[in-house]
Symmetry: D2
Subunit: 335 residues, 4 copies
């Protein structure tokens, strides 16, 4: 961490600051210039609140040199975190497929989709029981009944299930769920993060629509700091000025995150563009640049899906995407 | 709503779509072009799920002509919603000041700030008991003790209090709080919105960092649809590519929102820039273009604030801002 | 095009508008609703200035149904435009590699790089003679001498050359250049676009840092409308809130543009991230989702490059990228 | 400037780097930590190319502490630059109004508008002769004839004129123009900037749609470095995810720029929102937070303007805005 002081700071106040920083077990190395004085801080700065320093009158700016997350940081944990769920493994160089409908709508729909995606090679079933919808008038999911249907589909197909937790009040219903998903809109719902940090299940944490990679890792840090080390990160498109696609899929986030952290990084190409016909090329691109898995929406009747129909694949189209990804994967980028 | 069909759509499927739309009590007016056919839909489309239509094979695109929110829509509710809290009134053309520390830290701190901001003309006291912090290692607030101190400050000064609710599990503690704040990171926490829709208290709803005005109004719609009509909107800066300021304050949102909705719209210039010395000019600009109120962070000792010190004003600086706003307000823009 | 009129518009003014639209050879189909009247316009609206209509008092909004570009529009020109330059072909399903240094610095540098990239399979040589630099104090290129060196490298290796034109005053120097590049910062330099529309050479048009796909196609339209039909589009990363990478590479732009237009679409993974070690995974991802070519920066001594060293590959690293792309390409996505 | 080295760098290479930095007349102060070594550089770093250092193998990152612009930097030039044009003065605390049509369309139009805006208190006349339009099919301006009409209006009214230069080939026509405008799309047209750096006229430099304040000042630096010290900066809205307004007016840019630079900063509220009825509140807000001037589009018949009609005010509406700004200005923020 580097603290930039104002021109000609009061020596008394510099001494106070220096003493305080030393009390945080940091060593201070000053550099005195004509326009500025800078203090180089050496030691573990990951838990120092940069804002506290920035607020001081004598301070012009503070810049972090090292990252503000520690548990999620590859610099401190060089080996990949490998997470096994049923037959799927995340973080070992494979590319498991998570597939299923946006929302659970009925027994028939879910079982049909589950069987089809299993046959195509998916090793986890996704499906929403609690749906975050921007309009209060849109379908909000089947809630507890949706969870029951997911568990039934799991029993029927053997596929472990991933589903989204929107609020702590729903947590009891998740006892038999295999992977808890935290949605993009809840990426900075810190109470929720803190609580799933105490749960003994993998957590699939989606990047917020307007959150940086560093913020994503800070949110992962909440979970890891609580003792839950099984966190799977998911890139799902970010909000930009472009309107041709719903969001902009940031695929450079995959190799970048894999450098910053030891946690596995998967990609959701369905939500990113919001357009079914872009799912295949984007799934292929994600596999090519080294994604640790893919999460894809599949619906037996997209035209009558209760949510996100325009981005859902038919089971036939998913067969095609799964085959293409399988072909690309052996050639995929590895750091 | 306008539905654009693909070139040469199957007449059978167009008939199906038409029948379904008519079952939603919409009138359909087709326009047949060489490259496209468009269907103009007339009727109440505010509750139609645009995604359901967009998912159909024969549909190329759907465009809304009217807004997807109804309770929040000025077109349906032309008169301003006026909300009274203690001596403050939002939506009647006045510009009440909400002031106080980012987080409640101690009895002394809170009482000193409360007395100073009251003396300067503030009519509501703000202060965080539960703090959303991007790092799990930063100060997270005093929780229940923070609420107790706020209530004590209320008793002492007579100022009603505004404080942030981060999770439904905290709601019981808010019984004597005057205004519930929903923070920017929770603007699309739909469970939380739904529940405060059933509470008999005004809600101060902050715009998310990357949310459009329409999304803000859709979130307000969740609260209004639950029966709680006292919603105050708050612009607090949006995330852009610019890095000189923490966020970009979108002041055009004030007149724009006042046109779109009947709800009052206030501005938080402290969080927008993250820089204390920009609070005064931005508060003045917000007042000039017709803000229905201002929310400003004030700390008795910003250099030692436990959060957001760099953006907090001293009580003396707040005196100065309050005086400047009072001077500008009589000249402010009115639609 | 759909024109949305205000509630209860003056019938006289509606008649005026209708007459004017008819004079543009458009048919008008009105839909009268309680809250709004909408006019559906049928005919060639690609050259109608939407702003002229939006400015009318009686008009609330105008929405385009069809695109405002015609020459660049795949709807009117279904077959791929195929552009041959030396041994490279763009738009026929192949993925030619364009490689070379960011800026031409010396005879030795350029010839060494040219020979190495040719050996690795590149079929075009890139190199900047005129460099757009954000600081007036940075190296600005060798200008006419740079062009001379490029022509010498072309003679020596047989590789056709691509180089950036920054201003019309430089055009005479480009007589023997094979492909004229228009840089991202000049994507909306309309005078420059208009003039290269009259040149008998392929133009490589880079997407602006903050330009939509539609704006990119409108800029291509300037060139096509001038009579030059050989335009190659290039995605090179867009500006977003993310700071971990310099820009965000928008790979969904490839399949999306290939749907919107018949022009070939290539990718520059070097400028997108600004980080050399991300070039390989992003080049592989671009190839996988169907890019019609790649443009990659290669420098014989990146640590001493006069510009953009951090994003340049060594010749050895380029060998590795070229081999990986060659492996992926046969499996690449095709619409 | 702070250079962060990789863990355990090769001492020989560190010595090379140190020697090179010393050859640039910089002093080096190293700080050695367990995870990193940082070098603090003291001296004039404004002309050091940060990319050259970042490209070195042993370097992990480089962070600027001081700004990369010098001529435009208030730290080196504490006093306001004051620019006089006719009766208008920019930078002395006043708020001159620049007004006129988006594009010059006819003698009648321009003279009528010029007389009306002069009567309302404007002290400069704006009008476009060369118009940057995103479509090649839109009206592109009257070119040389437009300049002639502007000069005629100047003669008639005594108002100095501001008009946009799009390309160097047009420069000869600007001999009698009072202020040369560089448009947002040309903010990084570095050849154009360099040339107007040699012209003896004030330059009005508009911020690019997606350019940071630092980039705006780097572009100003091009002009200043050429010897032309009369540069007026103009905030005109930036591109964000919001679609309710065309761009997002960044008013915090005014006090922020006034802190960073000594150059005057004006605001164009017409282009920012693209909506005529937002011009008044935004003009008032800009005046309130200390803008050094305003540029506003006025048309005698906005409904039939050849460009940007929806954002143009009628002369009557401009009278109203000018009066409101005049009232607010004496109360405006001053740093």
């Amino acid at each position: 961490m580097v603290v930039i002081l104002n021109k000609n700071p009061d020596p008394k106040r510099v001494a106070d600051l220096t003493a305080w920083l030393e009390s945080l077990h940091l060593e201070i190395h000053p550099t005195v210039g004509k326009m500025q004085t800078i203090l180089g801080l050496v030691g573990d700065t990951s838990k120092v609140d940069i804002e506290l320093i920035r607020a001081l009158d004598i301070v012009q700016d503070v810049k972090r040199i090292s990252q503000p997350y520690k548990e999620a940081n590859r610099a401190f944990h060089p080996d990949n975190t490998v997470i096994k769920v049923g037959d799927a493994t995340f973080g070992d160089g494979s590319c498991p497929l998570i597939a299923g409908p946006c929302s659970v709508e009925s027994r028939e729909q879910l079982l049909e989709v589950a069987q089809r995606v299993k046959a195509a090679g998916a090793t986890l079933l996704r499906g929403g029981a609690f749906k975050p919808r921007s309009s209060p008038y849109s379908f909000q999911g089947l809630h507890a009944d949706g969870i029951k249907l997911l568990l039934e589909a799991k029993k029927e197909t053997g596929l472990p299930i991933v589903t989204e937790l929107m609020d702590l009040s729903q947590l009891d219903l998740f006892a038999d769920v295999d992977v808890i998903q935290i949605g993009a809109r809840n990426m900075q719902n810190f109470e929720l993060l803190r609580q799933v940090g105490h749960v003994d299940k993998p957590v699939l944490l989606k990047r917020g629509l307007a959150n940086t990679l560093q913020e994503l890792l800070m949110s992962a840090e909440y979970i890891l700091a609580g003792g839950n080390h099984r966190v799977i990160l998911c890139e799902r498109g970010i909000r930009t000025f472009e309107t041709a696609t719903r969001n902009t899929l940031d695929l450079s986030a995959i190799p970048m995150l894999q450098e910053m952290t030891h946690l596995p990084v998967i990609v959701d190409p369905s939500h990113a563009s919001g357009i079914a016909r872009l799912v295949k090329p984007m799934a292929m691109a994600a596999a090519a640049c080294g994604a640790d898995g893919l999460m894809i929406e599949v619906h037996n009747d997209p035209a009558h899906a209760k949510c996100d129909g325009p981005q859902s694949l038919t089971p036939d189209a998913f067969d095609d995407v799964a085959a293409a990804v399988r072909q690309i994967h052996p050639l995929a980028y590895r750091a």
